[in-house]
Amino acid sequence: MDGYEQHSGHIACENLRFCYPDGALAIEKATIAINHHERVALVGRNGSGKSTLMRLLSGLLPCQDGAIFYRGAIVAKKNTPTPLAGMGILFQDPDDHLFCNTVFEDVVFGLFNQGKSAEECRIIAMRQLTAVGLADKADMPPHVLSHGQKKRAALAAVLAMAPELLLLDEPAAGLDPSQIEAIAAILAEYSGTLIVIDHDLPFLARLCCRAVVLADGRIRHDMDMAELMRHPHNLREHGLDFTFRLTADQPPERDKRHRHYQPRHDHSNGLAHQNCQVEVPPIIELQHFSYHYPDGTRALFDINLGVQAGEKVALIGENGAGKSTLAACLLGLRLGNGQYFHHGQEARPQNRRDLWRRVGMVFQDNADQLFCPSCREEVAFGPRWMRLAQDEISRRVAVALAAVGLSGYEERVPLHLSGGERKRLAIASALAMEPELLILDEPTAGLDPAGQEILLRILENIRAAFLLITHDLFFARRLCSRAVLLHHGEIIRDDTSADFFNKIDNSYILS
């Protein structure tokens, strides 16, 4: 068989090479051997070939050239996706894993396929769901779960099959630190061979003892994890830098005082106004604003928040704290109760429909706002609906693309760009509308550290005010003059960044 016979170790590959049908070379001469019970981190920039290598090792992609060894024997080449027995694979998007109509059915799916009896399946599934803290959600349809719960449910579905080798693609992506903690605790209990792809190096350092660094489809380093962390030049070389994340286990008490830029009422229930008179009213201001979901669940409560022209504000909070809902309210997409001021004038619900001209938004998943066939069309979409002249549209497209470093990308197809480029394109499409306020929802999610660095430079040069929704404390501290902490739908801190990060008490863990 091509000169390859057998290989020690749990899983290995030799001179692996893979090209996508469009000719793009994804993996080149990859040779790696992973022993039983070893814990390996696959790291590298976006597009370096990590996910492709994982799919090749698992048998989901056909082995075009080279050889893969599993349990010591060479894996026969097949043209159809044939996952290798005993492997558990977790993709990045948990919705891909939860294809049954209840969480319980999803967890027992693999167990039934292993030929276990119904009673065995039930016992194992409930034990696994209890382990991930979802026993009470067993009978719920997956679409009602939060993102973090879906991630844990998908992990439970994979772990229930007791895989001897676990391959995880960004298990911590899009999660707040407390959810990451939960995932890390679950994985710490796992005793089999573990291969993890992620950009969060501190998270990986807790789980893995070995790091394999990929760049441009090649394995550049294969070293001890601690050694990789000790050598910043390695991190820098491959765009691997730490992100700083925040978690709260005991939120501080809510401040009884709140500030309005233009107070128009008094309080008699113990609340007090801070003096915050300004000459120029803020771009937008919410006063005693609350929002409930249609099913009655409270999402936001008594929000007092204003953003001045040019101000950079970080909005921080755990998953489910209400950050994205607050953004939707600021954009006028959700109405809620309370007062909404725009340049000092109260904006009635019917008038908030026009806020899109002044408030821009960059979504967490940029695929949600990229739908045009070319980058030029994408960036011109907003200005065109603003009914601007063609010359002005062309000027704005050129300026916006230049601002995010995508000049020359005008005719490229957005779908074919890398993750970082798509994020920058989404920012350009918002900037082209020259908003007074830009809302950025988790702009660093899914970006490798090199992509984050480029993003940082772009955001530093934006003149418009922006509201940065993030878990990334490094970005918040670096970019924003003010930080707002949201917890369970309430603002529990609203300070200058300097005060915010100085006053932060020990219940906040900076990792």
């Binding site: 939860l98 997409l333 001209r357 990229l370």
Partner: protein
């Protein structure tokens, strides 16, 4: 035998012909105002109330599906107005016994109302008038377009049959988990591939809806307003194309995730609980109830004529 109706009578007849449109109006009045923020209301899961105990929920799923399917065929076979009314009453009783989401029941009926209204407007005025057939001339229509009672009767029968069958969908589909219900259909010979596709569709329609809503929001935030113009159609074309591409990519990933968990072409499930004597008795009772209007029509014609008069 043609009778001319006055303007008032004609307007009343027209109101009667348009009466199915009251269903969407009623739905709007009862449920629409709850959407306060202008966002699309979430789709209710078909089996969201499957755990609520009811006459149908405690019935063996395969037998229930078989009996209710047979009932549907029974309900579309009779011809008399009184029998159809009795069928609707039985279907309404079945719906009430299933402890349904009345919102969804009304939505389902409202969705049919356009088609039913078209039938009511077309059938009474189409077809050749038979000799001796009673007809009526409406004040706002020419005499050459009279309203035929036989056409009106035919349209009414179709509406009643359609309503009865639509009502039966609630006890059939919402009183067990969708997986159990589809397993019941499989026991009746429906191909496994079809039931698997329906299961996956039901799961991913929510993901699809969320993706579509987020993309639509992204377009709205950049000024898009849907309208009947080229720019709008172009944008909607891009939107639909991107939705298709994303769905296609997801299909691939879901299939791979299924393969990784041992999928070999068959969705595994726990064995259904066995049929009991109680289930069989329920089936007998239900079929007797469902067939009773038809039997009454066939063997008690005089009684039915009396009812008809």
């Amino acid at each position: 035998m043609n009778a001319a109706l006055s303007w008032l009578e004609s307007l009343l007849v027209l109101a009667g012909l348009l009466s199915p449109l009251m269903l969407p109006m009623l739905y709007f009045l009862l449920y629409r105002p709850k959407r306060r923020d202008g966002l699309a209301s979430p789709i209710d899961s078909l089996d969201a109330r499957a755990a609520r105990p009811s006459f149908f929920q405690r019935w063996h799923c395969g037998l229930k599906v078989a009996c209710l399917l047979a009932t549907c065929f029974l309900f579309i076979s009779p011809r008399g107005l009184a029998v159809c009314l009795a069928d609707v009453a039985i279907a309404l009783l079945a719906t009430a016994l299933s402890r349904p989401s009345w919102r969804r029941v009304l939505a389902r009926l409202a969705a049919m109302s356009g088609f039913l209204t078209m039938l009511l407007l077309m059938l009474p005025f189409s077809g050749a008038v038979q000799a001796g057939e009673p007809t009526y001339s409406l004040a706002f229509l020419p005499d050459s377009l009279p309203l035929r009672l036989s056409g009106l009767g035919a349209a009414t029968l179709i509406i009643l049959k359609a309503t009865a069958v639509a009502l039966l969908m609630e006890p059939m589909l919402s009183t067990a988990t969708l997986a159990d219900t589809l397993h019941g259909f499989r026991q009746l010979g429906v191909p496994a591939s079809l039931t698997q596709m329906l299961l996956l569709c039901h799961r991913y329609i929510f993901v699809f809806q969320h993706e579509a809503a987020r993309m639509w929001r992204g377009m709205r935030l950049r000024g898009f307003v849907a309208g009947a113009n080229a720019a709008s159609l172009f944008a909607i074309g891009n939107f639909l194309g991107m939705l298709f591409v994303r769905s296609f990519e997801r299909t691939q990933r879901v299939y791979e995730a299924m393969l990784c968990r041992g999928f070999t072409g068959e969705m595994p499930r726990a064995a259904a609980p066995p049929m009991t004597a109680r289930d069989a008795l329920k089936a007998l009772f239900w079929l007797a109830l469902a067939v009773s209007p038809l039997v009454t029509e066939m063997y008690f014609a005089d009684f039915m004529r009396f009812l008809g008069e």
